[in-house]
Subunit: 450 residues, 2 copies
């Protein structure tokens, strides 16, 4: 019997996870990853190369897992897919056959429509190691760095760059607050305060009009006429999915939001699956198509695609979207819809909050105030969103909230949920934030004072 051929295009988080998952289920198949880059960067780690890590070599995904599991890695670029004959052609002139394919072609940085975006020393964040090294070398001789875009990546870049001595870091954000697409105003304000306290300049509600400079960038001009000097500009203005290969192959594609996949990660062609940043996601509440570039979601999709190639095993209805980040001592996380997004979708919500120290008693050293905001759908009582600020436990606390959203829990169920608490590791059992915020949502705030 001829071995089944599984071909995976792209070898970052989604591609590798898809390959490993496929190996778990299809032990006899030939599995090949084909990707352009010899080495790939851990995508979420890229900002940390510029401060905490100090070099790109410390942010590389180890490929040893591939050889250990008999997954072939080809460094080459697929230039076309013939889905009728199930073959691909590569830039090196190779022709490869496949029985099943997974597209994990990722995303590229969106370049904002600002004149001067192509001037020397203006850098969108491409996930390529030599390109990142180039930015790093330029950073090392810069004085004024300007970051356009105050989302997660922009702020992480700002905070890491700010760790370099003598570097003046400024963020320009179009919206009224930084992080506004992921968090509600009060959480954004907390983050902004932390960043300002750390010495970063934030210019919110400012639109960049032009990037100025002769041989290389010299300044950015804002629409209000303000001119900000910069010898290095980093563009963190979102991503767009890499869809060209899929589009040219005749697959169904949402040009702005990505390759269309069903719940099983199958594209419009039975033999081609897709996972990661290159795919369109759907909002878990409305099913509406959305863009969501998260390695965590990409990995989930990859686990589904890899398992389903020759038979249906797994499915994912929609994307919840769970984020977290940290700036110094302050960590924030967000899962599901924000209050702003929910109300923007005309969902009648109940909002509740609970704040407590992350240890108990609060006299313990390194205690950190930790606040939880929960967003419930009034009609059903279902938890549809949550946000957290606090310290080191925020990453898993928001995952706990994300699990309550995914398992469709109501406030009355959560408020009697069983939890574990410990003086050194969590809030006290009486004050545990997720529980208390759920209780507050159920009863009139005026009846009890905490």
């Amino acid at each position: 019997m001829c071995k089944k051929e599984i071909l995976i295009i792209g070898g970052s988080a989604a591609g590798i996870t898809a390959a490993i998952t496929a190996r778990r289920y299809y032990s006899d198949a030939r599995i090949t990853i084909i990707r352009k880059e010899k080495e790939v960067l851990i995508p979420c780690g890229i900002p940390y190369i510029f401060g905490t890590l100090g070099s790109a070599e410390e942010d590389i995904i180890a490929d040893t897992v591939l050889s250990k599991n008999n997954i072939e890695l080809i460094i080459d670029e697929v230039i076309s897919i013939n889905k009728g004959n199930r073959i691909v052609k590569t830039a090196d002139g190779k022709t490869l056959k496949y029985d099943k394919m997974i597209l994990a072609t990722g995303s590229s940085p969106s370049i904002p429509p600002i004149p001067g975006s192509d001037i020397e020393n203006v850098f969108p964040i491409k996930k390529e190691i030599n390109y990142i090294k180039k930015i790093l070398s330029r950073v090392n001789v810069s004085k004024n760095v300007l970051i356009i875009g105050g989302g997660f990546i922009g702020l992480e870049f700002a905070d890491e760059l700010n760790k370099k001595k003598n570097l003046n870091v400024t963020v320009i954000e179009l919206l009224p607050y930084c992080l506004l697409l992921a968090c509600d105003d009060e959480f954004c304000k907390k983050v902004e305060k932390a960043l300002i306290d750390r010495g970063i300049n934030l210019l919110t509600e400012r639109k960049s009009k032009a990037i100025l400079g002769d041989k290389k960038v010299e300044a950015v001009e804002l629409e209000n006429g303000q001119r900000i000097n910069a010898d290095l500009v980093i563009l963190c203005t979102g991503i767009h999915p890499n869809i060209n290969l899929a589009l040219n192959a005749g697959l169904m594609v949402d040009r702005r939001k990505g390759i269309v996949v069903n719940d099983f990660m199958m594209t419009s062609d039975n033999n081609i699956f897709a996972a990661g940043d290159c795919t369109q996601k759907r909002c878990y509440l409305s099913g509406a198509p959305i863009v969501m570039g998260l390695a965590s979601i990409g990995s989930t999709q990859a686990r589904i695609a890899g398992a389903n190639l020759f038979g249906v095993r797994r499915r994912m209805e929609c994307a919840v979207g769970i984020f977290s980040t940290r700036f110094g001592e302050l960590a924030v996380g967000s899962a599901g819809l924000t209050q702003r997004a929910a109300e923007g979708n005309n969902i009648d919500v109940i909002i509740s909050q609970a704040i407590a120290p992350d240890k108990h008693p609060g006299y313990l050293p390194e205690t950190c105030e930790t606040g939880v905001k929960l967003i419930f759908e009034r009609d059903t009582g279902l938890l549809i969103g949550g946000q957290v600020y606090g310290g080191a436990s925020v990453g898993e606390l928001i995952n706990f909230i994300g699990s309550l959203i995914q398992t469709k829990k109501r406030a009355d169920e959560i408020c009697t949920f069983q939890i574990g608490t410990h003086p050194l590791l969590t809030a006290s059992p009486m004050a545990y934030q997720i529980i208390n915020a759920s209780q507050v949502a159920l009863t009139d705030l005026r009846k009890v004072r905490l």
Copy 2:
């Protein structure tokens, strides 16, 4: 209309939480807490008084929440309940009437049947502030402290006492490993190693035969003939529920495991509810009666009792049991059944593990190896237990696992669960331990190497 009278006996975590919850639902009721102690200690914080905190005053539950919510606090002791007439009598000679009552009488330390347990300087851990202060003053003039019982509390005491200079701390544990009732062998070994590295003496599989001393304790003699010098002995050999009041009132009581309550926290009398350490718990898997003294479970029960007094609102079927603790850098957590307990109950299980750094890349500072072990029921694929070791995020990571147990998730559902990941806060999306351990449980370990 006459105001409804709600009387709560006991005012620690369960009593106060029950009172506050009752206030949320019964804004017009008179709510009274009656308790023996003027001030109550945060129970789980008691070991930390002996090291990190340094004084009992820093481990007190604030009563301000009571007056703010119009909850009367009486310092007195209820000596009898007449459930026919709905009145109680107190030590001070008062008679109080109630419409609904909540028993939150807590637990007391179990004294092991060892001769000499009543010698001077031998202390079971009573949750009384002056008593704890007395132990603290004795600790300050001691050289050799011996702790009998290597469960959570015993080890926490050992680690905190060990922070005092010139104090030699030894733990005697009957079972083959410390923590064995909460964790499987490999987790116990990790904790033991950490404690030994921190300079604590552990004597496992040793039975204390007698506590020796003339005016005050001088040594403990083991069954193997070994004699360990000690000028202070702390007994951490479990708890028993405070049931006498309930028993004398004619309520249904399991003498060893506590006051019997139904899913709604109602005792055998319609007008009397109970919550916390004084109640019998039931194992979430078998329904079998168990003892489980956890403030977190007690608070959950209190939220149920407080809401149900005059009408059914909430229920809790059984107790999952979620623990966590930390010794220096090493934190451990456990939820649900251990492998040992499951196999002891003749449950056919699938065991799986995943280890990864708690940050990504692992080059980031303060990265801590974090391991997750999951225990699935083979027959159904349901998650029935989990254990974690790692750093600061362990408390919420085990809560996340606890939520997956409570919401009855199977391995195939968990392995495509959506999570959030961040370099500074969690494992990488490809390596996220709960997901990968669930995947490992589903597929043959030999097929893939990580």
